[in-house]
């Protein structure tokens, strides 16, 4: 090659292979593996080191050896994660980094690799009562099916997205869009999804969900019945009747057990819907984006005629409120026993505010779920099933980008981990399509040897920081246990 060929000064030459690409700042080389960042050639994702001592919430900063005080290798403060460690798929040689460090005098080994997950997805918990779609409905991104609505949880709608059937079992666009959706959710970027026959939502891990353009601020304090139970005392003496509108269980204080124990008088109110137990009603309306996850915009539509024989009278006062306190209305019965809107009396404001104050902020939670099976394990040990058994016996701890992973009981290593506890951009992808996730196995040195680990490949944290791995020596430090 003509060594005298000159290039603009902002390009530097990568010497990782004979192609010796000239790479401009911010660009990657012909191999897609090395890049120029700020005038230095790096492996595209630098090895990430979590340092517990970096202030929580601190920005990611480039790792400079001079910044460390020298004793960082001892103890549990420093943890080499698999983010940027490179991968050896399909794992015909030891994992990129097998690192030893001492915790309380015991020699521990952490095996880190960026694992390629063909079987993986996310479970998304969306704190909202708003009806996103019926259970089993298909969830789409850019028109492609990427998952489905699953069993609702308390105050939350749930989605299961990804999985091998969408990644590689469907059409090529379906796989591509699914992979992209998973990648963005796992890297805590916002994703817009639509539910067949339901709503559209913008979801982002650790942020409030936005449902049909409406940003959800609060997660409900409880169902309508629970709300009555919690706040009946606050309302006593200030209002004649309270209805908490909820798609699941709408509560009526005068009929509810919580009202009865306070000696709350009957009001002759009648609620449309199916009565469960006294003061608790199912299906007062259809699910929707209105009050308390119903399709109700005007709460009076869930009421039937008032019965004067059971206590209804002109001048009777009524508070209707949703499970988050977000919507409320105050009414007074006129001479024909028809509720007429009236301003909320000052005295009742604190009780409505109290509902809102007792709500937690509505969030989206994204749990990465995948199966660390097959050949991946042989990057750790020559005898893969021993690793599985060691994980199941809790001798080997599994983390994803430093975040603790819940490992499902039963066969294999099927794990779940919270993406908000991982460093930024911890996830990648391969065109298969499949998700690349950082994965660390930590085990005592003795157990590591016992399970047939690649003991000859073990290196100290010092050595990894000093010399890097096969894929370059760039490291970055981020706060451990991020908030």
């Amino acid at each position: 090659m003509d060594r005298n060929r000159t290039k603009p000064a902002d390009k530097i030459r990568c010497d990782a292979c004979p192609v010796m690409c000239y790479i401009a700042d911010g660009k990657i080389g012909a191999c897609d593996r090395y890049a120029n960042r700020g005038g230095r050639i790096i492996r595209c994702d630098p090895l990430t080191v979590l340092d517990r001592r970096i202030e929580q919430g601190g920005e990611i900063r480039p790792f400079l050896k001079a910044d460390w005080d020298g004793d960082l290798v001892a103890g549990d403060d420093l943890f080499v994660t698999a983010v940027g460690s490179g991968t050896t798929y399909p794992d015909y040689k030891p994992a990129p980094f097998i690192v030893s460090r001492e915790i309380d005098g015991v020699d521990f080994v952490t095996v880190v690799t960026e694992a390629i997950f063909s079987y993986c997805g996310v479970k998304v918990k969306i704190d909202t009562d708003r009806h996103l779609g019926r259970e089993g409905a298909v969830v789409r991104a850019k028109g492609e099916p990427v998952g489905l609505m699953i069993t609702s949880e308390y105050g939350s709608q749930m989605m299961s997205l990804g999985g091998v059937d969408h990644l590689t079992g469907g059409s090529k666009p379906e796989g591509r869009v699914t992979c992209d959706t998973l990648l963005r959710l796992c890297n805590r970027e916002p994703v817009e999804l639509s539910v067949d026959g339901g709503a559209s939502a913008i979801l982002q891990a650790g942020q409030a969900p936005v449902v049909d353009g409406h940003r959800e601020e609060r997660m409900r304090v409880g169902c309508g019945s629970a709300t009555i139970g919690m706040f009946a005392v606050q309302w006593q003496g200030l209002v004649d009747e309270v209805v908490v509108v909820d798609d699941h269980i709408t509560g009526v204080v005068s009929e509810h057990q919580a009202g009865k124990v306070l000696g709350w008088p009957d009001t002759g109110i009648r609620i449309k819907g199916r009565r469960s137990t006294p003061g608790r009603y199912f299906q007062v309306a259809d699910p929707g984006l209105g009050w308390g996850g119903t399709d109700v915009q005007d709460p009076l539509t869930i009421l039937g005629d008032w019965n004067p024989k059971k206590g209804a009278r002109p001048g009777l006062t009524l508070l209707m409120v949703s499970t988050t306190g977000e919507q409320y209305g105050y009414y007074v019965l006129d001479d024909d026993l028809v509720p007429q809107p009236a301003p909320l009396p000052e005295a009742l404001c604190p009780s409505v505010d109290l509902i809102a104050e007792n709500c937690e902020p509505a969030l989206c939670t994204v749990m990465f779920m995948g199966g660390a099976g097959g050949s991946l394990r042989s990057g750790v040990t020559k005898n893969p099933v021993k690793l599985t058994r060691s994980v199941q016996a809790l001798e080997t701890r599994v983390t994803v980008g430093g975040a603790p992973a819940y490992v499902w009981p039963g066969g294999g290593i099927t794990l779940m981990a919270d993406v908000t506890q991982m460093p930024d951009n911890a996830f990648g992808y391969v065109p298969t399509p499949a998700i690349v996730a950082p994965l660390e196995f930590t085990v005592s040195r003795a157990d590591f040897r016992a399970l047939g680990g690649h003991d000859g490949s073990v290196r100290t944290v010092d050595d990894v920081l000093e010399h890097g791995g096969e894929y370059g020596s760039a490291t970055r430090a981020v706060a451990k246990d991020r908030g």
């Binding site: 010497d15 990782a16 004979p18 192609v19 015909y92 590689t168 079992g169 796989g175 499949a434």
Partner: protein, 284 residues
């Protein structure tokens, strides 16, 4: 600088050759396997550095190229030159030509029943009397490819805008069967370029040099995204590609081509090699 790396895959049968941007999966059966693989490994040591030494010329339009020194480089130049006139650089054949050369080294040892070198989907293969080679196009409504000793096909290559190299066209995939992998590689690239709707608003393009400064495509516009297309647009784009493929066929550069855009496809030549797939799925 990293040296070439060669490792055995977990199945104990196939080898992975890696150097810089090159990843090959290699397999051979027959009494000559060990010797052939050893020769291939020896040859692989210098393949990338030879190419790198003439890289500047290899990235130029083929009509501007002076005769090249390296064996692989020359094969690339020949395969590309067959498609003149029209813009093409020898780099359009690089993956196929490397596969051909490594396969040649394996077979030169003799006593090889069956062998292949898969260079990221561009495949060179060797077959003897009773052996067959089956390949499946992984996505879409795709036929299965079955090749026998009688068939003249010894190279398979696939190109498309979503692939690793930038494309001037919008084909999701063009798979070509030819007598060498280098020929298949360059033809797949050019047929995929021809599957296009010039000036169509649903297609977003960017200058290749802005995406990859060293690209052999220079300032030519490459496809970066394609929105939904009407069935008429899809047919029109595929027709343009099919015309180019038919010309390649009539000139003897290819044996068959399979062009896919979305759920629609065209087959040019040699239907006997393409059979409808069984109902199975490819899982990673």
């Amino acid at each position: 600088m990293q040296t070439p790396q060669i490792s055995m895959l977990l199945d104990g049968q196939r080898l992975h050759f890696h150097h810089g941007p090159i990843d090959l999966i290699v397999d051979a059966t027959g009494p000559g396997r060990d010797l052939g693989l050893r020769r291939a490994a020896d040859r692989f040591d210098s393949v990338l550095s030879e190419l790198a030494s003439e890289l500047h010329a290899l990235r130029r339009p083929v009509e501007d190229c002076h005769p090249l020194r390296g064996k692989v480089a020359s094969a690339m130049q020949r395969a590309a030159a067959a498609h003149q006139p029209g813009f093409v650089t020898p780099m359009a054949a690089v993956a196929g030509a490397v596969a051909d050369e490594i396969l040649h080294q394996i077979c030169a040892a003799g006593d090889i029943r069956r062998a292949y070198v898969n260079n990221g989907g561009d495949i060179a293969l060797h077959l003897t009397s009773t052996e067959t080679f089956a390949a499946a196009i992984a996505t879409g409504p795709a036929p299965r490819i079955t090749l026998t000793f009688d068939s003249p096909v010894r190279g398979i290559a696939t190109s498309g805008w979503r692939g690793r190299s930038h494309s001037l066209g919008i084909a999701d995939s063009v798979t070509v069967l030819a007598t060498t992998a280098a020929q298949a590689d360059v033809a797949a690239t050019l047929i995929a370029n021809a599957v296009d709707l010039p000036g169509h608003p649903a297609i977003r393009r960017a200058r290749a040099c802005d995406l990859a400064p060293d690209s052999d495509l220079g300032a030519r516009l490459v496809t970066v995204d394609v929105d939904a297309l009407s069935p008429e647009d899809v047919a029109s784009a595929l027709d343009a590609g099919a015309r180019y493929a038919a010309r390649c066929l009539s000139r003897g550069h290819i044996i068959a081509a399979y062009l896919r855009l979305g759920e629609t496809y065209r087959v040019i030549g040699a239907p006997e090699h393409l059979t409808q797939p069984e109902k199975d799925r490819l899982h990673a």
